[in-house]
Amino acid sequence: MTESPTTPARRPPEQWKLAQPFGARSFAVALVVAVLLALSARHTEMDRLAFLSAEYVAHVLGLRVESQVARGVDRFVSTAFPLVIAEETPVARIDGFNRRHLPLLSHLEMRETSTSEYDFTQQKMVQRSETSEVLVRPVGYLVHVLGKMLESLEIALWATLFGIALGAPIAYLGARGYTPHRVLYVLARGSAGFLRAPPEFVSALFLVLAFGFGPIAGVLALGLHSAGFFGKFYADDIENADRGPQEALVGIGANKLKVLRFAALPQVLPQYLAYTQYVLERNVRMATVIGVVGAGGIGVELKGRFDMFDFGHVTTILLVIFLTVLGLERLSQWARARLI
């Protein structure tokens, strides 16, 4: 308010001062950035990355160079296919096995397993073969994986519901103009930041300690993070909504909840749907891997099979995850197009 219009000395337009691009300053900045990037590249082994990649390319081109990367890739690829979708269980290990009532889509087969062992009497290695009866379920493993995938989807669903239920009140308290008190505003904004700060994997680790292995830890870890996200973004949108309609209702004496419901929410609803859709999708992706730390879902199976080098099973799991995430994304795109 106190500023007064300053009149610069009048000069002909040929002499008006123009900022020069790419001066000494930009050069200095570029130099500093280059040095910092070079230092950081050392920390992150970017030089080694270049070396290993070159080695691998040479190997692929048939230049007969030993390559660490190639060994890792070969190891996975050689055992990743064919996919394992069947499940075999030795009949001897099934409690109360009833030969007359086999489970759906299953049959019995004889398996010959050979083991080599050292025979002390003959003082040499001998091959022994054993035959055992196994129950074969041709798509048993696939069904098991799909069941675990469903568990992951359910974790994502509950985490998102949890996030909305907790995030909405945080957003209300953290929206200027609606918060009942300045202190609550700061607390709400702070807690939204606090909930978003720890990565889900870290909070899941602690939650597994508290609630044990299983989906509870997954739901809570993802849900709390989602609540922080909703708490911030819902509130930001309310603050940025057009004041006019809100003022119109304030002016006739409607209370804050009514103003929020009828003047703010209708304006921000499309964005809210977009956020919720994004969080749901993100939770699905996270729920497929959060099992790696024991927090339920398909990730538990993935981690277990990976650690046992059952790469055929791993491929099945990855394929199921991939197709599910892809399918859900398509589904939500379609739903969004219809809703807005």
Binding site: G244, E247, L249, I252, G253, L257, K258, V259, F262, A263
Partner: protein, 273 residues
């Protein structure tokens, strides 16, 4: 019905938007406030329902002095029609009109969006009164033309039969033909209900056509007060001051004033409601 006593509004920057304004508007009067932009018309109107806080002086609505304690009670008796309509574009026409009843509908009911049948019927009648049809009921407000939107806003303003309606430049965003329709509807609807209207305008011809009484404002002061018939060139000169010197001097000051009002609005937006 509406009384201003020595009302002054000074913005933190030192600018005076209303300078000891005293005004007494009797029941049922259609009182137009005329003046150039930045004269303090909006401030005058917005001080009645507390959207702008005054610095000193008293405002009475139906004999009740406006204080923080009586604010909510007074607001329920005062409705407003805004220059930018201030409808919620994504809500239906019907719901927009029904938001006018929010002060009388309980919070749980309104959260669920369940309005009493009586109000829903009344909304239909009012919409018919302002010339809208059944087919408009469930259209989104944003799909209507400017003139239609302002008519919806008039229906919203009158649904609780307020004692006072404030119309803040109600036709400034409309074309000539829509302006006449909207002004006529505002005039008729208020006349039927004996509603007191305080309407700010900057078009002299509309003031002459519709007002019972014209209050001229310039730089926060009332410089004219009388029936439209007395609004002669001398009075207009006082309001708009045609001489070049005054325009040059006033131009800078008005720009300053508009800037202050804008800042105030931004500040109010930060702390509202």
């Amino acid at each position: 019905m509406l009384r201003f006593l020595e009302v002054t509004k000074r913005y933190p920057g030192g600018l005076t938007a209303m300078d000891r304004v005293s005004l007494d508007v009797p029941r049922g009067q259609f009182c137009v406030v005329l003046g150039p932009s930045g004269a303090g018309k909006s401030t005058l109107l917005r001080s009645v329902n507390g959207l702008t806080e005054t610095t000193s002086g008293t405002i009475e609505v139906g004999g009740v002095a406006l204080t923080p304690k009586t604010l909510r009670r007074v607001r329920a008796e005062v409705a407003m029609v805004h220059q930018q309509f201030n409808l919620v574009g994504r809500l239906s026409v019907l719901t927009n009109v029904l938001t006018g009843t929010l002060p009388r509908v309980s919070t749980p009911r309104s959260i669920m969006g369940v309005f009493p049948e009586e109000y829903r019927r009344k909304a239909c009648r009012l919409l018919a009164d302002v010339g809208l049809e059944e087919e408009h009921l469930y259209r989104r407000a944003s799909q209507l033309s400017g003139g239609q939107q302002q008519r919806v806003a008039i229906a919203r303003a009158f649904i609780l039969d307020p004692k006072v309606v404030l119309a803040d430049e109600p036709v400034a965003s409309l074309d000539q033909a829509s302006s006449l329709t909207v002004m006529r509807l505002l005039r008729e609807t208020s006349a039927q209900r004996e509603t007191t209207v305080l309407c700010s305008l900057h078009q002299v011809e509309l003031a002459l056509k519709f007002a019972d009484r014209v209050v001229g404002m310039r730089q926060g002061r009332t410089v004219f007060d009388g029936p439209p018939g007395r609004l002669d060139s001398d009075a207009l000169a006082r309001i708009y001051r045609r001489d070049d010197e005054a325009i040059a001097a006033g131009g800078a000051e008005e720009a300053h004033r508009a800037e202050a009002a804008r800042r105030e609005a931004a500040r109010a937006a930060g702390t509202m409601p």
